[in-house]
């Protein structure tokens, strides 16, 4: 039984999700104390509880302390059960966070899995679907397990009501990969989603992107989605390079101009292009756990976030794979194994 202190590092829900992922995949039970200690509302919130419940289902786990407000949780998985699952998640507990929690274990399960996840898909406090689909999941496929996702309908904050499906074809063992360089930028794709809002918003956002980013090899597209419940707007900029694709997001917020929304995505893209590192800040957070399960690998990123540092600590507690950070001048190299 592994003992974790939930107040270490970033001290929020990330420790819990990473621990659940690693525990499921490695079959290591754990107890975490001081969950979200010191936060205004300490202990488990609904979004964490949904992640715990999903992990319990996938890992046929025994659990103690899975209650709202609980600051201690004990989680003992038995065997990971691939197959068909559907998880309905409330607004704030983005469905993508639930996927992030259970996916690593399903990538090495005995049988393929099909997941139906409903709830929020594009939520400012979680990796949005576009990022998962085009930046994160292709890298999982490169680790050996084929993972594809299909968005049925987006669910924007706060209305939610979105849905996406994920198919996982597992492998026995994941193979480590290295993301040491980005290579040439092949092209960019810019999507402006508008849902239950004027198309004009999307057009203004595209116009802004065109003004501030090189138009070379770039496709632009305003996507009007139907079927989602509430209004929503989002700018996604895919940067496709020789070695990987990164995705940067600007979220539409009521009362914020379309130009400012576009600027969020543009600024992130420009920082990424200027740094030359292949892996952006959010992707770095996401890669540590799957890399550790693959038993090695390395990637270069710019300055690591607190989430990344926290994940590094959790990974080192759960696996014999040693995760290290090296300063490479402009970049930081994170290597495992």
């Amino acid at each position: 039984m592994l003992n974790l202190d939930g107040s270490m590092g970033e001290g929020g829900g990330q420790i819990l999700r990473s621990a659940l992922s690693l525990s499921l995949a490695k079959g290591i039970p754990f107890t975490v104390k001081n969950i979200r200690a010191g936060r205004r509302k300490p202990g488990l919130l609904r979004q964490h509880l949904t992640a715990v419940n999903a992990a319990v289902a996938i890992g046929m786990a025994e659990v103690e302390g899975a209650e709202l407000g609980s600051e201690t949780l004990t989680f003992c998985p038995t065997t990971v059960q691939g197959g068909d699952y559907s998880f309905a998640v409330g607004t704030a507990g983005s469905a993508t966070l639930v996927l992030q929690t259970v996916l690593p274990a399903l990538m090495t399960a005995d049988v393929p899995s099909r997941l139906e996840l409903s709830g929020g898909t594009h939520n400012p406090f979680a990796p949005p679907f576009d990022f998962l689909e085009r930046a994160f999941l292709p890298l999982m496929t490169r680790l050996g397990a084929t993972v594809t996702a299909h968005l049925e309908r987006p669910g924007f904050y706060p209305a939610g009501g979105g849905m996406f499906r994920v198919e996982v074809n597992p492998v026995a063992t994941l193979s480590p990969i290295e993301l040491g360089e980005r290579g040439e930028v092949i092209g960019k794709r810019v999507f402006a989603y508008v849902s239950n809002l004027s198309r004009q918003i999307g057009k203004r956002e595209i116009k802004r992107v065109k003004r501030r980013l090189s138009e070379e090899n770039t496709e632009y597209c305003v996507v009007e989605t139907s079927g989602s419940m509430g209004p929503g707007n989002l700018v996604a900029i895919d940067v496709e390079s020789e070695c990987l694709t990164e995705v940067f997001i600007g979220f539409g917020v009521r009362g914020v101009s379309s130009e400012s929304v576009a600027d969020q995505a543009i600024d992130a893209t420009r920082r990424y292009l200027a740094s030359g590192a292949p892996v952006g800040e959010y992707l770095a957070d996401q890669l540590l756990v799957p890399f550790a399960l693959a038993g090695g690998g390395m990637f270069l990123t710019s300055k690591p976030s607190r989430h990344t540092l926290t994940n590094l600590e959790v990974v080192n507690l759960f696996t014999e794979v040693k995760a290290r950070m090296k300063d490479r001048g402009k970049h930081v190299e994170i290597s495992l194994g």
Binding site: R46, A88, G90, A92, A159, M229
Partner: protein, 530 residues
């Protein structure tokens, strides 16, 4: 424990049909968007005309909170601003709802609905018809942000659960108790327990209160303090009306209590309002209630039960709503047995009976009361009298000893302090003053003791002579005289009085023994039986 929320659809706050409904705060939906509140069921009540809004809210809650089951129920009030209508409908709902408090915790959402509906929900929760805590939601602090969820607060009406409120109540309670005790730091556990109980009753009930206790135990004083406390708490609006029933005799009693009409009897030259009338909305203190005549008792009973009575000579009933505090220094039950007090009236007034102990049973309270009396004296006489140390302990020793009979209780103490403070040279009460006072007290109690001995002794010896005897002798002689009265001759009385010791003697001379004993008090057979 599952959380179940109950609330009324807000026709204004919860409305919204198009996608833009997500851009403003909707209280009922926001309940299910809180990150730290998991609602497993939402009982959403709606007026028929707002069925569309109810369905929309249900759909939206299911989207933001798939964990929540939403049940919508039409509710039948016609006018949401009509208190009776709304209360009745909600009351019906509560009565028929299968509450399961073992497994479910209920929250009643009071942010939506009319103010009338909020008041009704509050009342139902407060009376536990709706066994729920209150749930209050509030909009986000700043407008035009992405956050349309806002905040919520759960309010438990069990106020004792809030530390700061509880300590406020504690402080208030201490103040009330101290008030009832006139600020005297009484130590007697018996007395303090009674005062605590009285505080509870006095504040929260307007049922009759019966104060039992010997003369001077402070019944009247306490009744007045109860009134003043209730008056400060705005529990009574009317006056404090006080009468000693022993002073009410004959026809005047009826008229004093219940009033009379002009011409009701000779001398009734104009209408007169009785005390019951004066005490309307206030407190009526009837001291020595056992002294009331049976007719007055019957009338009083009706006045307590129905708040109505008939003034003398009137054929029109009058109404008065007063709280009764009754005082008695006798055991009313024995009066009931003798047919002198109505048992139905006793049953009505002894719901809350408090027996105030006499001062001799509250020895630990004599010192604080002594200081109180000195302060009172200063207030009334303007003299700041104080004991010197020696004198104070001398007085307290006497007061707490078996000599301290305190037959008239606080009245005695008050009189003693008044005398000592007045006589004290230079307002310093010294040993001499105390000695003089304790002698005076002893003598007055002896007088009373002698009177109480009912008193063959006084009749035979005369009061003055009787009081010169020790109590030891008073008791003995009283019994001797009683036996003499019952006997045919001196010898007969002697045989009765010495019946035990004469068994052991060969030769007895009981008559002679008795004659000698009587002679000590200058008495003989003829004087006793004559």
């Amino acid at each position: 424990m599952k959380s179940v929320v109950m609330g009324i659809v807000g026709p204004v706050l919860d409305r919204g049909a198009g996608p833009s409904r997500w851009e403003h705060w909707r209280p009922s939906v926001s309940v299910c968007q809180q990150e730290d509140l998991l609602v497993s069921r939402f009982e959403l009540l709606y007026q028929e005309s707002f069925a569309k809004t109810a369905k929309q809210v249900r759909q939206d809650i299911q989207s933001v909170s798939p964990e929540t089951e939403v049940r919508i129920t039409p509710i039948s009030f016609k006018d949401p601003w009509d208190f009776q209508d709304v209360y009745a409908s909600l009351h019906d709902f509560c009565k028929s709802y299968p509450f399961n408090e073992e497994e479910e915790e209920y929250l009643v959402h009071i942010t939506t609905g009319t103010h009338v509906a909020q008041i009704c929900l509050f009342l139902l929760a407060e009376t536990r018809h709706l066994p729920a805590k209150l749930l209050q939601t509030s909009p986000p602090r700043r407008k035009h942000t992405a956050n349309v969820i806002g905040n919520y607060q759960i309010i438990d009406l069990d106020l004792s659960r809030y530390d700061r409120i509880a300590s406020r109540f504690q402080r208030e309670l201490r103040e009330d108790l101290s008030f009832l005790k006139s600020g005297i730091e009484t130590k007697s556990p018996l007395f303090n327990a009674i005062i605590e109980r009285i505080e509870k009753v006095a504040i929260h009930s307007d049922a009759p209160i019966l104060l039992e206790g010997p003369t001077g135990a402070g019944k009247s004083h306490l009744a007045r303090r109860i009134y003043e406390l209730k008056s400060a708490r705005r529990e009574v609006e009317g006056p404090f009306v006080e009468v000693n029933c022993a002073t009410l005799r004959g026809d005047a009693a009826m008229s004093t209590l219940f009033g009379h009409k002009k011409g009701a009897f000779t001398g009734a030259q104009r209408d007169r309002a009785g005390l019951l009338n004066s005490a309307d909305k206030g407190i009526l203190f009837l001291d020595e209630i056992g002294e009331l005549g049976l007719d007055e008792q019957a009338m009083l009973l009706r006045a307590i039960e129905e708040k109505k009575f008939l003034p003398v000579g009137s054929d029109q009933e009058e109404e008065s709503n007063f709280q009764l505090i009754a005082g008695t220094n006798r055991n009313l039950k024995s009066w009931v047995a003798k047919g002198e007090f109505r048992d139905d009236l006793l049953a009505r007034i002894n719901l809350w009976t408090f027996c105030l102990p006499g001062l001799k049973d509250r020895k630990e309270d004599i010192a604080p009361n002594l200081d109180y009396e000195l302060d009172q004296f200063e207030t009334t006489a303007g003299i700041h009298a104080r004991f010197n140390k020696e004198a104070r302990s001398l007085f307290l020793d006497f007061a707490r000893s078996t000599d301290g009979l305190w037959k008239a209780n606080f009245r005695d103490l008050n009189a003693a302090v008044t005398r000592m403070a007045t006589l004290a040279p230079g307002a310093r009460i010294n040993v001499e003053t105390v000695k003089e006072e304790t002698d005076r007290l002893k003598e007055s109690w002896q007088v009373e003791a002698a009177e109480e001995a009912d008193s063959n002794l006084i009749r035979t010896l005369g009061r003055k002579r009787a009081l010169t005897l020790d109590r030891f002798d008073q008791v003995q002689l009283e019994e001797v005289i009683r036996v003499c009265h019952e006997s045919r001759s001196l010898s007969d009385a002697g045989r009765t009085l010495f019946s035990v010791s004469r068994e052991k003697k060969k030769k007895s001379n009981d008559a002679d023994r008795l004659r000698k004993y009587l002679a000590k008090f200058d008495l003989d057979w003829a004087r006793i039986t004559g």
